[in-house]
């Protein structure tokens, strides 16, 4: 089970803040490939160049490995401060 979270603009565009996926994913990239098949908006969000990803609340990369129980968050570039 992978817990996937979406924040800010992506949360609004995808109209959801989280989803749980049962399938096994070897990497963030393989998770993205599956998310892109969920529709045009998903395809568009996950093709954006500024896409940031965190695994278990640590910044991660597209080739970061995933394991069962991981929390994966997708969000646009941060704008705090």
């Amino acid at each position: 089970m992978i817990n996937v979270l979406f924040f800010a603009k992506y949360r609004e565009q995808l109209n959801t803040d989280s989803l749980q996926l049962d399938a096994d994913f070897s990497s963030v990239e393989s998770l993205i490939d599956v998310l892109k098949t969920k529709g045009d908006t998903w395809q568009q969000v996950f093709s954006q160049s500024g896409l940031m990803v965190a695994v278990n609340q640590q910044m991660a990369k597209l080739n970061s490995a995933l394991k069962d129980g991981d929390e994966v968050a997708f969000f646009p570039p941060v704008t705090g401060g």
């Binding site: 979270l5 924040f7 800010a8 603009k9 500024g50 965190a54 609340q57 640590q58 910044m59 968050a73 969000f75 646009p76 570039p77 941060v78 704008t79 705090g80 401060g81």
Partner: protein
């Protein structure tokens, strides 16, 4: 170290109150406060920012801010660090963020405070949404913010 993400406003006096508890070795305190600015993006832009909503990633935000304070303490001689960042709906003139550093000497306090603030802008998971007179829009990240933090990375490479 005092790290907080909160809806409530803060008073600057909390910095002196907190640092006073930390002993008399402190010789310099630097504080930075970020406020909601009622600015127009372009000279011909008539949209005014009426309010700002700050969203964050609970859990990750606190750990990133703690790590930034630790990084600053490893690079400069800092006795203490305070980082307070507000979330929720804020209005022009409201406080957004407070960063304070305490050190024996001013240069460490200045550098530590600026490093934390520059790094926070590009690494802490906060997102601003502006409510303007023409509707709502998510604020885009600025390349200039990345350039500021890149300077610290370059400096780190030279030190090594």
């Amino acid at each position: 170290m005092l790290i907080k993400v909160q809806h409530e406003d803060f008073e600057l006096s909390l910095v002196s109150d907190y640092f006073k508890q930390c002993g008399t070795e402190i010789g310099a305190v630097v504080t930075f406060t970020g406020l909601v600015r009622d600015f127009q993006h372009q000279p011909d832009d008539k949209e005014r920012v009426e309010a700002l909503t700050l969203e964050h990633y609970p859990g990750m935000t606190e750990s990133v801010l703690t790590q930034l304070a630790e990084d600053a303490k490893s690079r400069w001689t800092l006795n203490e660090v305070v980082i307070i960042h507000r979330v929720g709906t804020l209005y022009p003139g409201d406080n957004i963020v407070l960063v304070a550093t305490a050190s024996a000497h001013r240069q460490d306090a200045f550098n530590g405070c600026q490093f934390i603030m520059d790094s926070l802008k590009t690494t802490a998971p906060f997102w601003k949404k502006e409510q303007t007179s023409h509707g709502a829009r998510w604020v885009d990240a600025k390349q200039s913010d990345q350039s500021e933090v890149d300077k610290w990375l370059t400096q780190s490479a030279k030190e090594c």
